[in-house]
Amino acid sequence: MSKLKNITVDKYIALAIFIMLLIIPFVSSLYSVQIFGKFITYIILALGLDILWGEAGLMNLGFAIFFGIGSYIFGISMAIQKGLPAFMSFGGITELPWFFAPLQNPASAIILSVAVPIIIALLLGYFIFKSQIKGVFYNIITLAFVALFELFIVNQQTYTGGASGINGIATGVMTLRLFGSKITIIDWYYIAFISLIFIYLFCLWLHKIRFGQIIHAIRDNEPRVQFLSYDPAVFKTVTFAISAAVAGYAGMLYVPIASFVSIDSSGVMFSTMVIIWLAVGGRGNFTGAMVGALLVNFLQNTLSGIFGGMWQIILGICLLLIVMLMPKGLIGSLVEWQYMRRVHGSEKKETKITNREAEV
């Protein structure tokens, strides 16, 4: 009983989100399934960034790179299922390039869509963190990386579809032939849904274990950690890779639902959107990331039709207000408020509010 009482609001909110996502296919149209399916992949992406930003304090201005890599890998795999897609033959090649050969098998494409982000993140992370690139420099380097990625994708039209993206994807809304059997969009929705639950639980676990504690310590006071036998670069790199894996996986899930892959879901602008989700929801407790991703996208979807261009201003003002009035985001502030009430209720005046506890 007392244990139940100690559960913070964010857990209940997370539960509510899961229940809502679970029943959507039963109560709603296929169109909503598609929309919310997309949102689920966004939520997973947001969780990935929360691992990096919320836990290790490493805001990444180019986080969508990994989402992009995951989705390009699976997207190309889907596109080449029925022979050479248009954008490749347009580029003048007649045969599938050797490096795309492994993608002919969707299963290996799924694995690669997680593995490649991990490898790239390990390389980039090692490079960034071993070089002692820190603080704002780190942020800007991530911005530079995503700009580079965008340029690269647009430049390599023959292999990536360039600015138009990959659109010959044979799967899409209705069915996806995978592993020989048909997977409907609803099946895929639930695959994404279950993945989301596992990733959420994984995040909670990561937060609690010693590894999580060390990265908190690094976020807090990196120079000090070194004198306690930890190499911060190693821990940061691993965190980077974990978050990249989550993002790559989300990108892979995204493909059959969106049936379309382009730089718009892996470039600078999209990366900044992911940051906005987290800022709105609040980082450091994973519910915030989920709420932020869901809320912003849902509102964008509904309000942008009603308000047109004004939507951008509304989003901007909301973001501004949140940053200034509740720097911990919606959920972070809620949790803090709940904590304050509890502390006041139990008259434990000695203990003051702590960020740490407010976040758990």
């Binding site: 805001m59 490079f127 070089s131 002692q132 690139i133 820190k134 603080g135 704002v136 420099f137 942020n139 800007i140 380097i141 911005l143 530079a144 990386f145 700009a147 580079l148 340029l151 690269f152 647009v154 430049n155 600078v268 900044t272 940051i275 906005i276 800022a279 261009g309 004004m310 951008q312 201003i313 989003l315 901007g316 003002i317 973001l319 501004l320 940053v323 200034m324 720097p327």
Partner: protein
């Protein structure tokens, strides 16, 4: 050979453009620790106000540039007073808030002026012709202005009492107050100054680039790269940073595709940062 020479000269123009675009960012970033993601939008506001001055009010170009500086300066002062002031010392929050601002500015301008290009004629259409090498006078003007801004800012920071206060203020706001300095005023002036530089940049860039609500986007990434390359505490560093980036990419672009050149530059910058993580021209004598 002629191509090489022209490309080198073009590189100088691009240096000037990039430095103009980046200078305000360096001020705000280096002195206030504020990552101004709306910097591109300040440039855009400068460009629009110059267009309005010229197209609606038929001001001469010089006045239009000054108007742009005043206008963005005012917007900057207001922004600092009501938003940035509350966020000093929280780098991530400054980034998010200015992000939000960039959305707001962009869309506001779009609602007022529409999405299309604004008309902005070249104020000086003459050019120096030396065989096949053409140097537009306007480009020379850009180069001169950027050098003036560089020199003026450097002198102001290092040689004046006001500059000293600015530097002290970024290090320890509370202590500055304890010595009788109105640090909020200093912050405000610094931010305003950075915004004015952006406005000037926007006005000067307008005649040769497109003037659209989202034009700021094209400057922000490069400007940040300049800061990173030059070292964020040095305006002179960012001038050299602009020079390195523009000169090498322009010269390379003469001989390969623009994208390949750009990719190469990116990679070179990233490698440089690998070995000089604080920027090429980071002042070493620091704690």
């Amino acid at each position: 050979m002629e191509l090489l020479v022209s490309q080198i000269i073009n590189g100088l123009t691009n240096t000037a453009v990039l430095f103009l675009a980046a200078s305000g960012l360096v001020i705000i970033f280096g002195l206030l620790d504020v990552v101004n993601m709306a910097h591109g939008e300040f440039i855009m506001l400068g460009a629009y106000s110059a267009c309005v001055s010229i197209n609606q009010f038929h001001f001469p170009f010089i006045i239009a540039v000054l108007t742009a500086a005043v206008f963005t300066g005012i917007i900057g002062a207001i922004t600092e007073k009501f938003i940035i002031r509350r966020l000093y010392g929280r780098v991530a929050e400054t980034l998010l808030a200015t992000f939000a601002l960039s959305y707001i500015f962009q869309q506001t301008i779009r609602s007022i002026f529409g999405p299309e290009d604004q008309l902005m004629a070249l104020p000086i259409n003459a050019a120096l012709n030396m065989g096949n090498i053409v140097i537009p006078i306007y480009n020379l003007l850009l180069i001169v202005v950027s050098i003036l801004i560089l020199a003026g800012t450097m002198l102001m920071l290092t040689k004046t009492k006001f500059g000293m206060q600015i530097r002290a203020n970024v290090q320890n706001r509370t202590m500055v107050q304890c010595l009788g300095v109105d640090s909020q005023k200093i912050d405000n002036i610094t931010f305003t100054y950075g915004s004015m530089l952006a406005g000037i940049a926007g006005a000067l860039i307008a005649p040769i680039k497109s003037v659209t609500p989202d034009m700021g986007l094209s400057y922000i990434v490069d400007s940040f790269l300049v800061v990173v390359l030059g070292g964020l505490n040095s305006i002179f560093g960012s001038f050299l940073g602009s020079f390195v980036i523009s000169e090498s990419s322009t010269v390379m672009a003469g001989y390969m595709s623009e994208i390949t050149a750009k990719l190469l530059i990116f990679i070179i910058i990233i490698i440089i940062i690998r070995f000089k993580p604080q920027g090429l021209f980071f002042a070493k004598d620091k704690r």
